[in-house]
Symmetry: C2
Subunit: 249 residues, 2 copies
DNA sequence: TGCTCGCTTTGACCCAGATCAAGGATCGGA
DNA sequence: TCCGATCCTTGATCTGGGTCAAAGCGAGCA
């Protein structure tokens, strides 16, 4: 619901609960932007002992749609995409995730999407059954998950508006502003944004083809709204202009 | 996460918690399909005293986008739509809700969507601040909310696939099967479904125009996939055919 | 340093679904 | 039951973005 619900303390309900020394998690660069922040410092060892840590290469799949949803994940470095497929291979990218992002929520027994690294990537994996134990002991963790789910839901609804009702140009403007917002939330200044995903991926995220994405980038370049540095860095020159496009006036 | 997380008991954490006699909620027809089922029977009076009950007419708005999100809602009779608007009035319907459905989750201080009755409707309204108190006392309620949010998230992702990648025909097939599934979940048998919303609303839900929705209905009628009884009852004659369309082969 | 393969851009053309227009059905209210 | 308003259906035409094709371009590798 509101973010205020994540403000409680994190005392274990059972006084006999293990409190180990903080392990590698304590040094994790993703810790302060991830779900792990809901864990009190002196209990970090509990998470550390539960997490299985992985490094994968660009293009590797780490969640497959319809597989049994036995684990949840926390990205500690790099970026990923999550997507769903239609029978004939048409693809919809549901979202792009980066450092600190949490994924793996599934309402049923199986994952409702696949996930693949779009850059070299690191993540922590937690068995779902063990997470349930943690939730029982540290209610703040469940609050944090609810906060995350609630945010994702609002984002998904915003994306539904985009997919159903915006033009190609408006979609691209919205996408660029979304990337900018994300960069700022992670502490980036300036008007320059990083686009680690391909034009094809952007198309599958916005409900467009590669060619249309490319044409819209070119159009915005010649309009002076943006300029490109290489193929994966975009400078936004007219934030207000993009904002007007994105909100559909 | 999984529905298993809603299986806990519902003992108040504070032993001194008020347990009042069950009030009107006890007789509520929506109770067993709503969030209220997470409340133990003998605590139902707590909810009852908190709920403000409303009846509204078709077409009335009960949530306005960007208003302060001070309450959450539970529909006890009738149907509603929730939607978002673009600056020039283009509309995307995010979902249709019916008896037992819960809404009002907002990740920030304001509602990210509007909500309007599509039939005469009844709902219970709970002040968010008071819900926080209930959550603190009855953890099962928060689990239930997480379960709901998680389900809605998966539905929203499925809808993103529909909006971004399905053809008009596939969208209509998916919509009809979705309605059928809902009818079955509420105990309806048979292949007949009720469509309380207008063609215009269906279009705004599927990212189509009224005319395209109408044409696809006509096409499916002449294909023998469906038939219409009046304008708001649809009989599905070929479930497998619709399923194949919906899954995009 | 140059090659190659995959990604991106651009161009020409096409089509699914939007738009514009006009009847036909349905429903609530007097 | 009649009337008006609203919703639904159908037809004609148009167009934004898809499809097909081919030429740049750049990062990684030998």
């Amino acid at each position: 619901m509101s973010s205020s619900i994540a403000n409680g303390t994190c005392e274990p309900l059972e006084t006999g609960a293990a409190k180990r020394d903080a392990g590698h998690c304590a040094a994790c660069t993703a810790r302060n932007v991830s779900i792990c922040q809901a864990m009190p410092d002196d209990c970090m060892g509990v998470l550390d002992s539960m997490a299985s840590k992985h490094s994968i290469k660009k293009g590797e799949t780490f969640i497959t749609e319809a597989d049994e949803a036995n684990a949840v994940f926390n990205i500690t470095a790099g970026s990923a995409k999550i997507y769903k497929l239609l029978g004939d291979g048409r693809r919809q990218i549901i979202g792009f995730l980066g450092t600190g992002d949490f994924l793996g929520l599934a309402p049923g027994r199986r994952y409702p999407f696949s996930a693949e690294a779009i850059t070299p990537m690191k993540y922590c994996q937690f068995k779902r059954t063990r997470m349930e134990t943690v939730f029982a002991e540290y209610p703040t963790m469940r609050r944090k998950i609810l906060e995350i789910a609630s945010n994702e839901l609002a984002e998904a609804q915003e994306q539904m508006l985009l997919l159903g009702r915006k033009t190609a140009e408006e979609k691209i403007a919205s996408f660029l502003l979304g990337r900018l917002q994300r960069a700022k939330a992670l502490g980036g200044g300036g008007n320059s944004i990083d686009i680690p995903m391909s034009r094809h991926d952007i198309g599958d995220f916005l409900g467009l083809t590669t060619e249309t994405v490319s044409r819209q980038f070119s159009k915005m370049k010649s309009n002076g709204l943006i300029s490109l540095k290489g193929t994966s860095t975009v400078m936004l020159h007219d934030h207000d202009g993009l904002q007007t496009l994105a909100s559909g006036y």
